[in-house]
Subunit: 450 residues, 2 copies
């Protein structure tokens, strides 16, 4: 029985799948942050290229992947699907465990799947510079690589807490020719305002987004790019799930359940969205479980409503599960996935109960990560490990029931830049934060009412 289920690069998808064509409830439109009116494509043109805006608004089921994008994706795609023989043996489970591993990209995660097309569409429209934000650094690294390959300048606003914890994220962005600055910074009004009131803040993704959006809006020939949340980002990530379908067919198996981590939403939606029509139309019995940290429990504890995507209220209002746009997870949280909201497409499907959500504490997540590393070899990213925890629990439960369940894990990246978090785990320094109820109540009070 094989360990790696590989596809030839000619079998890489030629089209992205757009789940907007198959929703049970139509997607609520994004609203203009000042007027509260539905957003028009031209409202986005100040910071996005038209090619991406078209995808953002599209309800076409299939969208062609440009050849120039596929040429670059070939550097690491299709990604391998592994059968976790050694983990299964260790757990003594009758379940079949698979993981699709996105850590083989040069940036070490799934993020280049969308960074490359985003850089491409910007290049096509003559954009010479892109500003973005990054939390743990996966997205900033991916965009640095992608912009480098299309000869575009790039500035990354990195959440200061991570910037200080993970100095080598800045270094790798520099190798790819990008500039990485700690956020909040003195380079934007948004950053300066926060620093005035909170000079020692560790920052947040919401603040970093505000800075990057302002940078794009105020610099010549500069656009903004986002690594999760938006429809076109999730669209680009569906290469994962489309490959997974082919790979599962090669071994004549079908997922009973797919686990993936969710921060703002990109890897997990990319892996499961191609299964949505199979569940809804072909009535396949498949569970899709979004896994999030208990310290930032957006899908499991958030409100389903319109909210801003950033702290400074610069972005459009999105209909999503949210903890409030000024929610900042406790700084002790080491596992990433800190965004206050989630992708509207994902939230729509969670609200319609097509997709489930669960939350997990960080110590149990790191424990699962170590079990995985000691059986399968690969050192998983803390984010990705949120999916390992329930997958391992599920496989253990199968021991009692005897069920030969097919469990698929979306392993979104490696943890080579997250070893300080592993150190903190081994040193016993990670606190399992209870659900920050008071914090959420405060931040939810600031969500705009409609």
């Amino acid at each position: 029985m094989k360990t790696k289920i590989l596809l030839d690069e000619e079998e890489m998808p030629k089209r992205w799948y757009n789940v907007a064509a198959d929703l049970l409830t139509p997607l609520d439109p994004p609203l203009h942050p000042q007027t509260g009116e539905p957003l028009k494509p031209e409202d986005l043109e100040m910071i996005f290229p038209k090619g991406l805006i078209r995808q953002e608004m599209s309800t076409e089921r299939w969208i062609d992947i440009p050849d120039e994008v596929r040429e670059i994706l070939r550097l690491w795609r299709p990604t391998p699907l592994f059968r976790a023989h050694r983990l299964e043996e260790h757990l003594k489970t009758p379940a079949r465990i698979y993981y699709k591993y996105e850590g083989v990209s040069p940036a070490g995660s799934h993020k280049p799947n969308t960074a490359v097309p985003q850089a491409y569409y910007n290049m096509k429209e003559g954009v010479e510079r892109i500003a973005t934000e990054t939390g743990a650094g996966q997205w900033g690294s991916a965009l640095s690589m992608a912009t480098c390959l299309f000869d575009i300048q790039c500035r990354v606003y990195m959440v200061r807490a991570s910037f200080d914890q993970k100095p080598y994220r800045k270094s790798i962005m520099q190798v790819w020719g990008a500039e990485c600055v700690a956020s909040p910074s003195e380079l934007t009004n948004a950053g300066r305002m926060i620093l005035k009131d909170h000079p020692h803040t560790g920052g947040s993704l919401g603040i970093a987004i505000s800075e990057a959006v302002e940078d794009a809006a105020t610099h010549e020939n500069t656009n903004y790019a986002l690594g999760s949340v938006l429809n076109h980002v999730l669209l680009h990530q569906t290469v994962e799930g489309l490959e997974l379908q082919k790979q599962m067919a090669m071994v004549e198996d079908y997922p009973d359940v797919i686990y993936g981590c969710v921060g703002g939403g990109s890897n997990f939606p990319g892996m499961v969205f191609p299964y949505v029509p199979e569940k809804l139309k072909e009535k396949k019995e498949i569970r899709m479980v979004a896994c999030e940290p208990s310290a930032c429990p957006t899908l499991t504890k958030g409100l389903f409503t319109y909210d801003f995507g950033d702290t400074a209220r610069l972005t459009p209002l999105l209909k999503m599960y949210t903890l409030g746009h000024d929610f900042i997870p406790p700084s002790i949280h080491a596992g990433g996935l800190r965004y206050h909201g989630d992708a509207p497409l994902l939230c729509n499907l969670v609200h319609d109960r097509v997709i489930e959500a669960q939350s997990f504490h960080q110590n149990e997540v790191f424990k699962a990560a170590v079990t995985f590393a000691r059986t399968e070899g690969i050192l998983p990213a803390p984010e990705a490990s949120h999916a390992l925890k329930p997958a391992i629990d599920d496989a253990i439960a199968c021991k009692k029931t005897g069920e030969e369940k097919t469990i698929v894990i979306s392993l979104s990246g490696h943890g080579h830049f997250d070893l300080s978090s592993y150190d903190a785990y081994f040193a016993g320094n990670l606190v399992d934060y209870e659900y920050p109820e008071e914090l959420v109540k405060q931040s939810l009070a600031n969500v705009p009412k409609f």
Copy 2:
């Protein structure tokens, strides 16, 4: 034209190739460090399992790879061969550039290719604990992973200069359950002796070897393991070259030249040894170029003679190119590959002019690494980048001659744990050390005379 030339895991080699069967000059035997007499197998039994000693002494051309070893190698093997389309375009060269990438292993380098069989043969003979040394950390990481998979305890003596520079190497070894200590340490006589005279030393590979060998010899049921130099190590690495031969045949091409980096010798010999009989017997025109740092120019400036493998003169004497067993390269050198000697099998073939050697300065090496990362995406390890420098020069030279040369690079690992060295390069802090002639003269004076 494809980017990745992939082999199915069923096509992974089933036998290792032993170049000892095809040498022009028979290998000079290792000598006992006290008596100076040729070593007997039983002399090695205190620190090595019999299975590995048999391989060390063997002149059989082919040696079977145990199924249990192949089961683990499947986790990342066969490794991909890439056609460097984007680097070729960037250089505007008519040359065809390929690179075989060993960074896809969970440890990030080629080192697990031998760590896994070494752990396996120790496990088969009931060994419960292994001691080893590591320089930059690639080998220590690989052995930590391999011993973990076979449930063997592991202690790694890591050269202090690297231990301090690369704290996350220790962390990743911990994830795989191993213990990593800075060398020289207070845990061995060899370490304590050095610390007494040089309390602030950054250590060296020669010192760390002394400590690990002493640890193995003085602890119950503990063996020693080495990640380069020895015959069985090079044997295990031939999976690389055997795969490369199949992959080149798939695209109906043949290497005019193969470049690979050399420290003590393991990745480069593994890649090129299977081509030795093709060159010698089939008279194929192929150049094999060992690439080493100018700061530790063993093959290009060393003496071809018997010398100790370690500083404390505990190891057998090996016939090799050496800079003297107490040579320590300048601490400013950031690129790894710091061993004073080289693998006897490799030295034999260099001495017989079957294989060539060249040395390179670190700034030109890092420059080549950045060019590679910015075109092919992958961030190469500084060690591996020693092979990129001459390959790029060669490809540029082809522009003038118009030659459609086939250039193959052995890309032995990624540089995710080496970003402090990249930082030093960008900051202009790397000095191109001239050949340390006086230093070498001193250390060569201590080489034993026969």
